[in-house]
């Protein structure tokens, strides 16, 4: 993984102070930006593999940074945000952020998210017809799902939902995003559909449906599909 550069955007010097050595220890090259403007120019000039972005910046709103970046870049973005700001997170995700980490966070958690986001981006580039989620194998052209080699029967809607989640593995998807893509724009707010279908998928695919590992709930935000 050596040589992969990570851009950290935060106006708090303290955050950079502890992130730099930890990122270096994990083999990343840390780039530092204290403002949104600085971040945008660094993405252009240094082409980092991933961006860690704090939403409260002195010169512009972190969400505006996402908006500008998404106009021309597919770089994965992991947002740093306060636990109590669900709306902000949802907005950031809807604007195209890949994942978020609540402040304060443990370094291990942040590293895991970075890995997942990077891997997901690579998988996306592959466009394989067969997707994998843990021990679940999804054969898109044949509409078949195998769990540990045994076929699992899914309704067309369940399959569609699962395929959509698997295609975006490692990324947090907001309720609205999933509903819009799978059920259509008219059903954007019918979260109850989503809860019912996710429950059914978990019952059919998870080893322990009470403690899901494949489809994980992000309370108040949406779902994250397991690594």
């Amino acid at each position: 993984m050596s040589g992969v550069s990570v851009l950290v955007v935060d106006d708090e010097p303290a955050i950079h102070r502890f992130m730099a050595p930890a990122l270096a220890a994990n083999g990343y090259e840390a780039l530092r930006a204290d403002t949104g403007t600085e971040a945008l120019s660094l993405v252009v000039n240094r082409r980092p593999a991933i961006v860690i972005l704090d939403l409260g910046l002195p010169d512009m709103d972190g969400k505006d940074v996402i908006r500008s970046l998404r106009g021309w870049s597919e770089v994965p973005i992991v947002v740093l945000s306060a636990r109590d700001r669900e709306i902000e997170k949802i907005e950031a995700l809807d604007l195209g952020a890949d994942d978020f980490v609540n402040k304060p966070f443990s370094m291990g958690e942040l590293m895991a998210r970075l890995r997942a986001a990077l891997r997901h981006r690579m998988q996306e580039k592959g466009e394989t017809p067969i997707l994998r989620l843990g021990d679940v194998e999804i054969d898109i052209p044949r509409h078949r799902v195998l769990r540990a080699g045994a076929e699992v029967k899914l309704t067309p809607k369940e399959f569609e939902l699962l395929a959509f989640l698997a295609r975006h593995a490692g990324k947090v998807l907001t309720h609205r995003h999933i509903l819009r893509e799978v059920w259509g724009p008219a059903n954007e707010h019918d979260t109850q559909y989503l809860r019912v279908y996710v429950g059914q998928l978990r019952a059919k695919l998870e080893a322990d449906p009470a403690n899901p590992a494949l489809i994980v709930t992000e309370p108040g935000v949406g779902y994250r599909t397991g690594e």
Partner: protein, 897 residues
Amino acid sequence: MDPTRADPEALLAAAEREARGKLRIFLGAAPGVGKTYAMLSAARAAKAAGGDVVIGIVETHGRAETEALVAGIELLPRTNIPYRGRLVPEFDLEAALERHPGLLLVDEYAHSNVEGSRHPKRWQDVQELLAAGVDVWTTLNIQHLDSLNDVVQRITGVRVRETVPDMALKKADEIILVDLPSDELIKRLADGKVYVEDTATRAVQSFFKPSNLTALRELALRQVAARVDSDLVARMQGSAIQGPWAAGERLLVCVGPDMAAERVVREAKRLADLMDATWFAVTVERPGHVMATRDRHRLEAGMRLAENLGAEVRSLVASDVPAELLRFAGFENVTQIIIGKARRWSLRAFLRGSLADALVRAATGVAIHVVTADQPEPAGRGLPRLPQAGPLAGYVVAPLGVGAATLLGLMLTRVVALPNVSMLYLLAVLMPALLYGVWPAIIASTLSFLAYNFFFIDPVNTFTVARPHELLALLTFLIVAVAISALAGRSREQARLAAQRMRATRRLYEFTRKLSARPDSASVVEAAAIELHAALGSASVILTTQKGELAIAAAWPPEDRLDTASMTAANWAFDHGEPAGAGTGTLPSVPWFFRPLTGAKAGTPIGVVGIERTAGVPALDAESEGILGTLAEQTAAALVRTQLSAEVTQARTAAETERVRNILLASISHDFRTPLASILGAATSLIDYGVDIPAPARRDLLLQMRDEAENLDQMVRNLLSMTRLEAGALDLRRDWIDVVEIMNRACSAARRRGATQRFVVTAAPDLPLLRADPSLMDQALGNVVGNAVRYAGPQARIGLSATVIDGQLVIAVTDDGPGIAPDVLPHVFEKFVRAVRPGGDGGDGSGLGLAITKGIVEAHGGTVAARSPAPGQRTGTRIALRLPLEPAAPAETEETP
């Protein structure tokens, strides 16, 4: 009805009015008071404030000062309407609707459009504009108001042809009175500053007389006064003024002094409720007719009842009762009239038919309900009451006049043979009749009759009458005398009533204005008590409920207690909503007369007003009671208003508290989260990847954890200190401390936290020691330095100095940063006030630091001050802490003066 809740229908009406344009009328008493000028001045201000102001039509009449105001405002061209072979320029309604400005000025509301225009009247054009959502300002003279047309003609002798229906005035959202003293107006007229078509005409001359102008001003004032308080209350309740032309039924109930009054009112209320109708309670007073006290009480009770039940009450004055009722009904668009039929037999009813009969005969397009009394009333006094006797002088003048007439007659008959000497006696009767009223006139006519009989009728010098036709002549003469005196008396009475009403109106207007300026209920009741005292000439007291109990809120002359019996009477009046105390049926031995204060809409009283009376003496006279009633109503309305505004304030305070709490939560969560994130991030880095991190970086992570923990500790200390300061529980452990030492400590603490600025510490030589709490002073100065570090910029120079000025130790922290904005400067020592950082998000720091510094310094008996720019600099901030020095400094230091 709960007065504190907005009536949903009123809100709906308000919403409808929102969509409509707003109408503002500049109302004047006469041409030339400066309405157009006032309107244009206001319009210029509105335009300057960014409004989309357009002049639809304005008549400048060539006045230069007015024309100067027009310049610069967009002007709609007039349209030319062909009329009788020529083109008449008129206001262009089409163009105005097309242009659809934010605010349109349309002069002369009462103007009649030339034939061929869309509407016959300009006020109708305005209504259309309002309906289209255009705000309109217009001007109006009071004499153009329909309902006042007759009054104006009576006053001025000039018939005004262009009139505006009253509802067109009522629909105004705002009325602005443009007033000018009569003398000044006449002077303006003489100077040619007032435009009238032909200044020389007699009509104009008779119009612009001081007496006329005063009367017109009175009328205008009255119109505006009628709106003052009701407007305020209506606005605060979130309700619009009731639309006077609401669709559906409108009832009118005639209230008279008979026993059926209450029953009729209740019946009307029942009908109004059934039909969901607006209803009026009306009483018509005949000029010159003086009511017995008992009747007046009944009438007033009926009217009060009607008002409490939600009627709009009106008191009209007219000789022809049915005609006046129907005029009012037509004017107010009344659809049904409810009237009581008294069973009392009266000569009047026998001769002329009852009021009900008269109404039925004359009414068109109105339904009439007649309500009968349950019980026949006991017969009244046998004789019809005569008007009140005049003053004593009349009884002296009457015989003198008759004597003079007799002498003159005797002298004249010596010279010439007069066919009818009685004419002289008519003069003798007429004079007291005109001047002193009916009783002196009757005495004069009786005396004249006797004198004429004695001196001039054969047989002369006896009271016997020889010829029957002479007797007839004498009787006719008596009747004529009485009739004339009655007539004269009536017109005098009418004038007196009018004057009295005008005085009362003026007084009421003043009072209402006074009350509406009072901000809280305490000052309202105080003003009311003083006004009552002034109006009625006796001590007054106002009681309101305080903590569920009736207690004195104000009294004049000032008084803070009432005896037990009086309190009982006051409570009784409050509980029953009826008068009590002296002159009433309840506790008449009490030396006070109490009357409940009832809010305009609320059914329950909000307090009691008391007037001091000698115990056992009859109640107030009708006039005083009327004044008391009116003042009490106004006071109640004003109280309701202040209560509403107090509630609004309370809600605002609650919202403010909530805001502060939210800021506290937000700042605490933000300020605590950053150091916590650093500590957790550094710690987990060491745990998970410690092996892969080089040793110097590992040490730096550990140092970071320590620094951030210290940061957290500082914040916790600040929060705790704030709490203790606010609770007044700060306990000072004073000790002798070296100020230079704490200044140095503050700098090194700031550097440890990553401050990059340059610190310069200076101190006066021989600086005395300070006796203060060392850890609190560290905190106080540390916060000021921290503030400078945060806001002055990374390259700033921060100076700390200590000097002694006027026996006080002054510690100043000066920076050369950008300084504090002038609007923030006065608030820097308040809690949760944070400046916006240069290029920052302003969301830094808890906003507590300087507030805590202030608290600590004040706890030591000192003061704090902030200046920006710092003295002697163009930018920067200087924060100075002044602390008192104790004279008993330790021996080793010399105190410097």
